[in-house]
């Protein structure tokens, strides 16, 4: 049972935010010998992300793309995630939050204005197959519930690839575009599941392809995972990922 995910007011969540620490994500917990969790006082995205480099990077062994430009979260208060119907999302994702949001290929550190918020793009590499947006926000002391995250990456393809599919899982809802065209929508109160929603057949152009996504969440841990699948449903790994 996790009542918080569904019902808690963001105001309460904000109260929790104050003075909280975190523990790192590892294979094993960091429980002490008496099995009472240790309270951490520092925050760092280090266990979850490293700064992106210009070195060649391919998808991971299962084809997941780990190098992304992530925009700091845009405030979008929602008490729960059950509001994320298809209609709600199409409206919410069609709204303009910042200039050129559907075309921009931002630079690392570039700032944009979203309403009253000044937000920064960060070029990062996830240390996991999934991109833990909650940790991106929480560890950098940004708002982490009731938010919208934008993500962009560049997929470099050695040759044209037809009949590929973009496979996405996200928590909570999200929408994704390939080269400016909508590829897949994940609606509803969703958890991140590998290959949860898959696009219709697409073509990856030879050279640069821009993948853009937007993830929305009320309370709960936001994250996503994305990879491309070939005609046989196998992950495509002979790609390189950049952010420029």
């Amino acid at each position: 049972m996790n009542i918080k995910h569904k019902t808690l007011l963001l105001a309460v969540s904000s109260a929790i935010f104050v003075g909280m620490g975190s523990q790192s994500c590892s294979v094993a917990s960091k429980s002490t010998i008496n099995y009472v969790a240790k309270r951490d006082t520092t925050r760092s995205i280090a266990p979850y992300f490293t700064p992106a480099t210009i070195q060649k990077k391919t998808p991971d062994s299962k084809g997941f793309i780990q190098r992304w430009l992530l925009l700091e979260p845009i405030n979008k208060p929602n008490r729960g995630n059950t509001v994320f119907t298809d209609s709600y999302l199409k409206t919410a994702f069609a709204s303009e939050y910042f200039p050129n949001q559907f075309t921009i290929l931002p630079k690392d550190g570039e700032k944009v204005k979203a309403g009253t918020q000044e937000l920064t793009w960060h070029a990062l590499e996830s240390t996991n197959y999934n991109v833990k947006l909650f940790r991106f926000a929480y560890e950098t002391r940004k708002q982490y519930y009731g938010v919208i995250f934008w993500a962009v990456t560049v997929v470099n393809c050695p040759e044209e690839m037809k009949n590929v599919r973009m496979a996405v899982g996200s928590n909570s809802a999200s929408m994704w575009w390939l080269n400016g065209k909508e590829a897949v929508l994940l609606s509803g109160d969703r958890r991140m599941v590998v290959d949860d929603c898959v696009s219709p057949r697409l073509t990856l152009n030879k050279g640069k392809n821009i993948v853009r996504g937007v993830v929305i969440n009320g309370p709960g841990m936001s994250d996503f995972c994305l990879r491309f699948l070939d005609e046989k449903g196998e992950p495509i790994k002979n790609l390189t990922i950049s952010y420029e």
Partner: protein, 482 residues
């Protein structure tokens, strides 16, 4: 009066066409139930908030179970001659935070009226704090039948589902044990072992939203208790994987908090809550369903539905029938070299009224024969609520469709029909879906006997009552609605 008859006929028709599955009776209102545990002939399950439900027979449930500590989402298990109960205090968003502790405690009995009813001081066996990637809430216990080790999974959507080892003698955390991450994106996890596989159950979807809760129970399996737990697509539960065990259906939504209860050889049940039972004001209720196994995957079965069926023996595929003369019907062989352009006309099926006058009126035997959808082969099965029940089911009467002629056990451990159903216990039948999807049919009592016998095929054409044998198709039946 006429109006009532119409309504009654419509209701009967509805039953005949669709049947209905009956849920637990009494006041089975609970959220986050623990695995059902039997103690001194009664059944217990605990829920969030401190209390729980008790049942004398596994069918009628009412509040009355007592558990100290309050908190949320307990689990319970019998180890030796004691009961270990674990529950979460805070955490999981309760009270607005993720600080949580899981506490274990022992008692000799679960019966609050017993002089032995006393819980030990609780031990903290796992905890979570701040915004770490886990909520210490929603525990599930497994006593590994292969080596006697005790394991506990726990967690919510907030981070990982974790696995820790407890000491089955003390209920405390094993010294030096380090938690292992075994899943994500689920909560209300539980563990079980069967046939060389360990199973991690999780609850996916939206909790706590009544009729709109999309909670559903999923599973992954592993050859090791420590994982990795993979679903049927080979997807790890650390990747959000999970194969469906039970989802919403009928008039209930949001199954969650799986628990396994082994009744006996070939008969298993799963417990859960349904977030909303639309027939019970949309309240959260205890659910008990048959637990089936297909290719070593658990599948939540359906409660038996009332209706009119062929009762087919798994032995040869013949059908249980009244011993009466076979009455020929229209539609004999047409003959060869006839004009195929003659008009096509349906042939009326044989009806009860066509044959019942030829049937004996007293006690009449039954046999098993090739099914011809004749009136003496159609059985109407209806719950008898006042007769009580057993875990997961009500007792039923089984009568020839359109009559009150009822199937009954005899003191000679044979099976007959009596002209009129009286409610006598030998006319009441327990119907359990078996783990392979077929059914066991047992009389509530065999007159002048304490033996628990089942309806079996002693020959292709001959039924009798005998001990149930899961390894024999003689003991298994199917209900077919044609």
């Amino acid at each position: 009066m006429k109006k009532n008859k119409i309504v009654g006929a419509a209701a009967l028709l509805s039953v005949l066409l669709t049947g209905s599955a009956i849920a637990q009776i009494g006041k089975p209102f609970i959220h986050d139930p623990s695995t059902i545990v039997e103690c001194e002939g009664k059944y217990y399950t605990f829920g969030t908030g401190g209390g729980g439900l008790i049942s004398e027979d596994g069918w009628t449930w009412n509040s009355g179970a007592v558990r100290p500590g309050g908190g949320a989402a307990p689990d319970a298990i019998k180890i030796g001659d004691r009961y270990l109960v674990v529950y979460g205090s805070t955490g999981g968003g309760l009270g607005g935070g993720h600080d949580g502790k899981l506490n274990t405690m022992w008692t000799k009995t679960l019966d609050p009226k017993s002089p032995d009813f006393k819980f030990s001081e609780s031990n903290v066996v796992a905890s979570s704090e701040n915004m770490e990637d886990c909520d210490a809430i929603d525990p599930g216990l497994l006593l590994d039948p292969t080596d006697g080790r005790l394991w506990m999974s726990y967690g919510t959507y907030f981070g990982f589902i974790r696995l820790v080892e407890l000491d089955p003698k003390t209920g405390k955390r094993m010294a030096g044990n380090i938690a292992i991450n075994v899943g994500i994106d689920c909560e209300a996890s539980d563990l079980m072992y069967r046939n060389g596989w360990y199973y991690l159950l999780g609850t996916h979807g939206t909790c706590c939203d009544g009729a709109n809760s999309t909670y559903n129970i999923v599973v992954g399996r592993s050859r090791k208790v420590t994982g990795p737990y993979l679903d049927n697509m080979g997807r790890s539960m650390l990747e959000g994987g999970g194969k469906m065990v039970l989802a919403a259906g009928g008039r209930v939504t949001g199954p969650g908090h799986f628990g396994r209860f082994i009744v006996g050889d070939g008969v298993e049940k799963m417990s859960c809550h349904f977030e909303a039972d639309l027939d019970l004001s949309g309240r959260s209720v205890l659910g008990i369903r048959p637990l089936l196994w297909k290719n070593d995957w658990p599948v939540g079965g359906e409660n038996f539905k009332e209706g009119t069926y062929e009762i087919e023996s798994e032995r040869r595929g013949y059908a249980l029938e009244l011993i009466v003369d076979f009455t020929r019907m229209a539609g004999g062989m047409r003959g060869f070299n006839r004009n195929n352009d003659e008009p096509i006309k349906p042939v009326a099926a044989q009806e009860l009224a066509d044959v019942i006058k030829t049937w004996p009126t007293g006690n009449t035997g039954v046999r098993i024969g090739d099914y011809m959808f004749r009136p003496h082969q159609k059985w109407t099965i209806t719950a008898v609520p006042e007769a009580g029940g057993y875990i997961g089911g009500s007792y039923y009467k089984i009568v020839i469709a359109g009559t009150d002629r009822a199937l009954a056990a005899t003191s000679a451990a044979e099976v007959i029909t009596v002209p009129t159903f009286t409610g006598a216990p030998e006319q009441l039948w327990r119907i359990d879906q078996l783990t392979d999807g077929t059914y066991r049919i047992m009389p509530k009592v065999v007159p002048n006997s304490n033996e628990k016998l089942a309806l079996v095929s002693s020959g292709d054409s001959t039924p009798t009552l005998a001990p149930f044998d899961m390894n024999s198709d003689n003991s298994k039946w199917s209900f077919k609605a044609h």
